[in-house]
C-alpha cells in the first residue's frame, strides 16, 4: 500500500502544494508593502511637512502653538474633554448599574436603544441638538419661547455625551456582568447589606473600569472632528482648528504640526487605557461561577431606574426623530410642512446622492473585505507562528492606527498622497486604504480571540495529518471562527460607512462618502438634505445590525 507521501505526487498536486506553501510568506510580504506605503510613508511625509516649510527646516508651526490663541484652543479642548468624559462616565455607570444589578422590565429594549449611537454617524446628534435646542429649536424656541445659542460648549458637550456614552456603557456593563457573583454573595453572607456591599466590593472593583471609561471618552472627545465642525461655533477645539487650517487656510504644514501635537496625548491615553483594561481581569469569573446573580429588588430603587431609563430612552429616540423630522419637513425650525423633496433631491438623477450612497457602500465594503483578509492572515500568524521574525513589528504597525486620532491620519494621507510617486489623492484606493487601516485593529482583536479559543491540539492534529498552513487555515480555522468573522464584518462595515474624522480630507469629486456629504450639506445650510442622508445611512446600519442579531440568535438555537 502506498504511503500518504507517495500518493500525492501528481504534478498538479505538487504545484498546488507549492502555491499553498507561499500562503504565509506572500501574506507577510503584502502586509509589509501595505504598512510601508499606507502607514509609514504618509506619516513620514506629515512629519517632514510639519518641520520643513517652504523648503527650509523650521519649527515655526510648533512655536505658533505656544501663542495665547492656541493656548485658548488647548484649554477649550481640555475643558470639553473633561466635561464630556465626566458626564458620560457618570451616565454610563448609572445605565450599566441599572441594567445589570437592578430588577426592571424591558432590559433588552433599553440595551438596544443605548447602543444605537454606536452604529450611526458620530456627529448626527449635533444636528438633533440644533433642531431641538437651537435659536429656532423645537424645545427652546417653540415650547419655552427662549432664543438660545446652542453653538459652542454646551451644545458640544450635549452632542458628544450622547454620541460617546455608549462606549463607556459597554465597557462598564461588561465589567459588571463579568464580576464574579460569588463576591457579592460572600459579602452578603458576611453581613454586608446592599449599600455596604456596593461601597466595599462593587465600587472598588470597578475603579479601574471607571477610570478606563473616563480616559476612553476623553480620548474620543479630543479627537472628535464632526461635532465641533457642526456645533462648535466660536468655541474652537484642537480637531476643528486642524480642519480649519487645512480646509480654510490650506496650510497643510500647520495642520500637520497641530496633528502631531494631538497624537501625543491621544496615543499616551490609548496605551494607558489598554493598561487599565488588563488590570480589570482579576475580579472576573473564573472556574465554576456561582449559580445566580443577586439582583436588587428594592421597589423604590427599581422604580427610580425604570423611570430614568424610560426618560433617557425617550430622549435618545427623540434625537433620532429630529433627524427624521429634518428630512421630511420643508425647513425645520421655520416651516414644518411635510415634504419628500429632500429625499427626492438626494436620489434624483442629477444629484450626487445615489452616487454618494453607492460610493459609501462600495468603498466601505472593499475596506471591510480587505481589512478582514489582512486581519485573518495576521491573526493566524500572531497565534500560530509565535517564533516568526518580525511578527511583532507587523502587529505594532497594523494596530497603531487605532491609537492615532482620525484627523491626524487624514492629514497624513492628504500630504503623503498628493505628490509623486504616490499621487493618489481623491482616488478610491486612498479612501479604501484609510478606512482599512482603522478597521484592522478591531478585526484583528476579534479574530485573534476567535483563533485562541480553538483547542491548539486540533490545529496540531491537522499539521500531523499532513495539512500545511494554508489547508489548516482554510479547512480548520476559518470554518471554526466563521461566526466571529461574520460578526466582525458587519460591525466593521457599519463603522466604515459612518466614520468621518479620517476621511474628511480625502473624499473628492470622484469618490464621496455619506458622512462627508452630511457635513458638507450642514455647512451649506441644507439641513433637510443632511438629515435625509442621515436617515438613509442610519437605516442601512440598523438593518445590518438587526440581521447580525438575528443571525446570532439563529446560531444559538441551532447550537
Amino acid at each position: 500500500m502506498k504511503n500518504v507521501n507517495e500518493i500525492n505526487t501528481s504534478k498538479f498536486k505538487r504545484v498546488q502544494n507549492g502555491i499553498e506553501s507561499l500562503f504565509i510568506p506572500v501574506g507577510i510580504s503584502l502586509m509589509l508593502i501595505w504598512i510601508a506605503i499606507f502607514i509609514i510613508y504618509p506619516f513620514i511625509n506629515m512629519f517632514s511637512s510639519s518641520i520643513f516649510v517652504d523648503g527650509e527646516y523650521s519649527l515655526k508651526y510648533f512655536s505658533y502653538q505656544r501663542s495665547a490663541y492656541y493656548f485658548k484652543i488647548f484649554k477649550n479642548t481640555l475643558m470639553l474633554g473633561l466635561s464630556t468624559a465626566s458626564l458620560s462616565t457618570i451616565l454610563a455607570f448609572l445605565l450599566a448599574f441599572g441594567i445589570t444589578q437592578v430588577k426592571i422590565k424591558g432590559k433588552r429594549f433599553f440595551h438596544f436603544i443605548y447602543l444605537l449611537p454606536t452604529i450611526t454617524p458620530p456627529f448626527l446628534f449635533s444636528l438633533s441638538v440644533i433642531i431641538l435646542f437651537g435659536r429656532r429649536g423645537i424645545i427652546t424656541y417653540h415650547l419655552l419661547r427662549l432664543s438660545t445659542n446652542i453653538y459652542g460648549y454646551p451644545g458640544l458637550v450635549l452632542a458628544q455625551v450622547m454620541t460617546f456614552f455608549p462606549f463607556a456603557y459597554l465597557l462598564l456593563r461588561s465589567l459588571l456582568v463579568n464580576l464574579n457573583p460569588s463576591l457579592d454573595e460572600a459579602a452578603f453572607v458576611l453581613g454586608a447589606n446592599q449599600i455596604k456591599k456596593f461601597k466595599t466590593i462593587t465600587l472598588p472593583l470597578m475603579t479601574h473600569g471607571i477610570v478606563g471609561a473616563f480616559v476612553l471618552i476623553f480620548m474620543f472627545s479630543i479627537a472628535d472632528i464632526g461635532n465641533p465642525i457642526i456645533l462648535g461655533g466660536d468655541y474652537s477645539v484642537w480637531a476643528s482648528e486642524i480642519y480649519a487650517s487645512v480646509v480654510g487656510q490650506y496650510n497643510l504644514s500647520l495642520g500637520a504640526a497641530m496633528a502631531l501635537t494631538l497624537i501625543i496625548p491621544v496615543t499616551a491615553l490609548f496605551f494607558f487605557q489598554k493598561y487599565l483594561e488588563n488590570k480589570n481581569n482579576f475580579a472576573m469569573i473564573t472556574g465554576k461561577p456561582s449559580q445566580s446573580k443577586l439582583i436588587i429588588e428594592i421597589p423604590k430603587v427599581s422604580k427610580f431606574f425604570s423611570i430614568f431609563f424610560i426618560l433617557f430612552s425617550i430622549f435618545i429616540v427623540l434625537l433620532y426623530l429630529m433627524i427624521l423630522s429634518g428630512s421630511i419637513t420643508k425647513l425645520i425650525g421655520i416651516n414644518y410642512g411635510l415634504t419628500l423633496k429632500h429625499f427626492k433631491t438626494i436620489f434624483s438623477g442629477d444629484s450626487r446622492g445615489i452616487k454618494t450612497i453607492m460610493d459609501t457602500l462600495i468603498l466601505g465594503g472593499a475596506a471591510t473585505i480587505l481589512g478582514t483578509l489582512f486581519s485573518i492572515i495576521l491573526g493566524y500568524i500572531l497565534v500560530r507562528k509565535e517564533n516568526l521574525p518580525g511578527r511583532n513589528i507587523l502587529d505594532f504597525f497594523l494596530t497603531m492606527p487605532l491609537a492615532l486620532p482620525g484627523v491626524a491620519i487624514g492629514i497624513a494621507y492628504v500630504i503623503g498622497f498628493n505628490k509623486e510617486p504616490f499621487a493618489w489623492a481623491g482616488s478610491a484606493l486612498i479612501i479604501i486604504a484609510i478606512l482599512t487601516i482603522r478597521l484592522i485593529p478591531y478585526d484583528l482583536r476579534v479574530i485573534v480571540k476567535g483563533i485562541k479559543q480553538i483547542d491548539v491540539s486540533i490545529l496540531d492534529a491537522s499539521y500531523i495529518l499532513g495539512g500545511n498552513d494554508y489547508k489548516t487555515f482554510t479547512k480548520i480555522v476559518a470554518p471554526l471562527i466563521r461566526e466571529s468573522i461574520i460578526a466582525s464584518i458587519i460591525y466593521n462595515f457599519t463603522r466604515a460607512i459612518t466614520t468621518i474624522s479620517a476621511v474628511i480630507f480625502v473624499v473628492s469629486v470622484n469618490w464621496d462618502l455619506v458622512s462627508a456629504a452630511i457635513l458638507n450639506k450642514v455647512e451649506e445650510g441644507k439641513v433637510g438634505q443632511a438629515s435625509a442622508y442621515g436617515v438613509v445611512i442610519t437605516l442601512v446600519a440598523i438593518v445590518l445590525n438587526l440581521a447580525l442579531i438575528n443571525y446570532g440568535r439563529k446560531k444559538e438555537i441551532e447550537a
Binding site: E185, N193, A283, P289, S290
Partner: protein, 382 residues
C-alpha cells in the same frame, strides 16, 4: 502547634453549637422552552441536625444539594417549607442578618483586599473597634497557620492557602452554622487528601454545627458524622458513613456510594430471623440482617454485595453461584480489582487485597463467583 497554645486558642474561639431543622423544603424553577414546565430542584426536604453535628449532603451534580445550602444561607428563596436555626425560623431574613458562615467552592476571596482585610471584613462591616479586629484576626491566623500572609493578596496564595483564608474569614464572625460548598473540589488530589483530615479536625475542635456539600463520596465518608444522600432533589438516605456503605437503602445509594454488585432475586418466604430467596433458580436460606427493610413474600429484590465481599473461585466450585470470565484487571497496588463478565451477560466487580502471597488471576480466565449467603443484605428492586 503545641497543646497549651491550642487550648488557649480554643478557649478564645467560643462558638455556640446550634441545631438546624428543615421542614418540607421545596424549591421549583420554571424551565423555559417551547412549553414552560415547572421543575423541582428540591422536593419535600426534611432534616434535623443536632448541635455540633457535621452533616454532609452527598449527591451527583444537579441533585439539589447546593440549592438546599443556598436556601439556608438566604441566597435562594424557598418555594415551600421552613428553615429553623436553634428553633428560630429564618425564612425571609436576608443573608446578612442570618449570621451564618459560607465557604464558597471558588472561595470568593475579595481580590482587591489583603488577606488581613479579607479576614477582617465581617468585623469591619459590623463596626467592631480596630484593636479588637486586630486581635481576632491574629487568633484566626494562628489557628489556620496563615502567619506571614497578612499583607498578601489572594492571587499570591496557593489553592490550599486560599481555602484556609476563606474558612478563617467565615469563622471570625462566629457564625451560628458553618456551610461548606464543595470546599475541596478546586484543589488537586494530593492537597485534597491532606486537607480532608485538617478540615474535620478544625470543625470538630470548634464544635460548630456544619453542613458540608460534595459530590465526592470518598470526601463525604471521611469528613461527615452523618451523610444525607440526595438524588433529583429528594433524600434517598440519612445515616452514618459506615451504615450508608454497609446498608444502602436503594439501588442508587448502593451504586453512588462505592460500587455494588446487585443480584436480582425474589423472596419466597420470610420466617423468624430467616429468609428464603430464589437466586438464579436456586433456593437460598439466609439470616435477615439488622438493617433489613420490611419485605413480603413475592417481593422482587436485589442482593447487594460489595466488591470486597465477592469471592472469585474455580468455575467448577460447587458453591459457585454464577460463572463468568475475567474481562479486565485493574492493579492498584494495595488492591486488585477484577471486572468479570458473567454467563448471564451482566458485569460484576470484585476487589481483593494484595497480600504477600497473592497471585493475579489471568485475563479471560473462566471463573466462578460466590459470596457469603449466611447474612444477605437486600435492597428493594426498582
Amino acid at each position: 502547634m503545641n497543646t497549651d497554645k491550642q487550648k488557649i486558642l480554643n478557649s478564645k474561639i467560643n462558638i455556640e453549637s446550634k441545631s438546624v431543622e428543615i421542614r418540607n423544603l421545596s424549591k421549583t424553577y420554571m424551565k423555559l422552552g417551547k412549553k414552560k414546565t415547572l421543575n423541582y430542584a428540591v422536593k419535600n426536604f426534611n432534616l434535623y441536625i443536632e448541635p455540633g453535628e457535621l452533616v454532609t449532603f452527598l449527591g451527583p451534580s444537579g441533585c439539589g444539594k447546593t440549592t438546599v445550602l443556598r436556601c439556608i444561607a438566604g441566597l435562594e428563596t424557598t418555594t415551600e417549607g421552613e428553615i429553623y436555626i436553634d428553633g428560630k425560623k429564618i425564612n425571609g431574613l436576608p443573608p446578612y442578618k442570618r449570621n451564618l458562615g459560607l465557604v464558597f467552592q471558588g472561595y470568593a476571596l475579595f481580590p482587591h483586599l489583603t488577606i488581613f482585610n479579607n479576614l477582617a471584613y465581617s468585623l469591619k462591616i459590623r463596626g467592631v473597634p480596630k484593636e479588637e479586629i486586630k486581635r481576632e484576626v491574629q487568633i484566626i491566623i494562628q489557628m489556620l497557620n496563615l502567619g506571614g500572609y497578612e499583607n498578601r493578596f489572594p492571587r499570591q496564595l496557593s489553592g490550599g492557602e486560599q481555602q484556609r483564608v476563606a474558612l478563617g474569614r467565615t469563622l471570625i464572625s462566629k457564625p451560628q452554622i458553618l456551610l461548606l460548598d464543595e470546599p475541596l473540589s478546586n484543589l488537586d488530589a494530593k492537597f485534597r487528601e491532606e486537607l480532608k483530615g485538617e478540615l474535620r479536625k478544625i470543625i470538630k475542635r470548634l464544635g460548630i454545627t456544619t453542613i458540608h456539600v460534595t459530590h465526592d463520596q470518598a470526601e463525604a465518608m471521611s469528613i461527615a458524622d452523618k451523610i444525607v444522600v440526595i438524588r433529583k432533589g429528594v433524600i434517598e438516605q440519612i445515616d452514618e458513613p459506615l451504615n450508608i456503605y454497609k446498608y444502602p437503602a436503594s439501588e442508587f445509594v448502593a451504586n453512588f456510594v462505592g460500587k455494588a454488585n446487585l443480584f436480582p432475586a425474589e423472596i419466597i418466604n420470610i420466617g423468624d430471623g430467616s429468609i428464603l430467596i430464589n437466586l438464579f433458580g436456586k433456593k437460598i436460606k439466609s439470616k435477615l440482617s439488622k438493617a433489613q427493610k420490611k419485605f413480603s413474600t413475592g417481593d422482587k429484590v436485589y442482593i447487594a454485595v460489595r466488591p470486597e465481599n465477592l469471592n472469585i473461585t474455580d468455575k467448577d466450585d460447587e458453591y459457585s453461584l454464577i460463572g463468568g470470565r475475567v474481562d479486565f484487571i485493574d492493579f492498584q497496588g494495595e488492591m486488585i480489582k477484577y471486572k468479570i463478565k458473567t454467563d448471564r451477560g451482566t458485569t460484576l466487580f470484585a476487589s481483593i487485597q494484595n497480600k504477600v502471597d497473592s497471585t493475579l488471576i489471568d485475563e479471560n480466565k473462566e471463573v466462578g463467583i460466590k459470596f457469603d449467603l449466611n447474612s444477605l443484605y437486600l435492597i428493594p428492586s426498582s
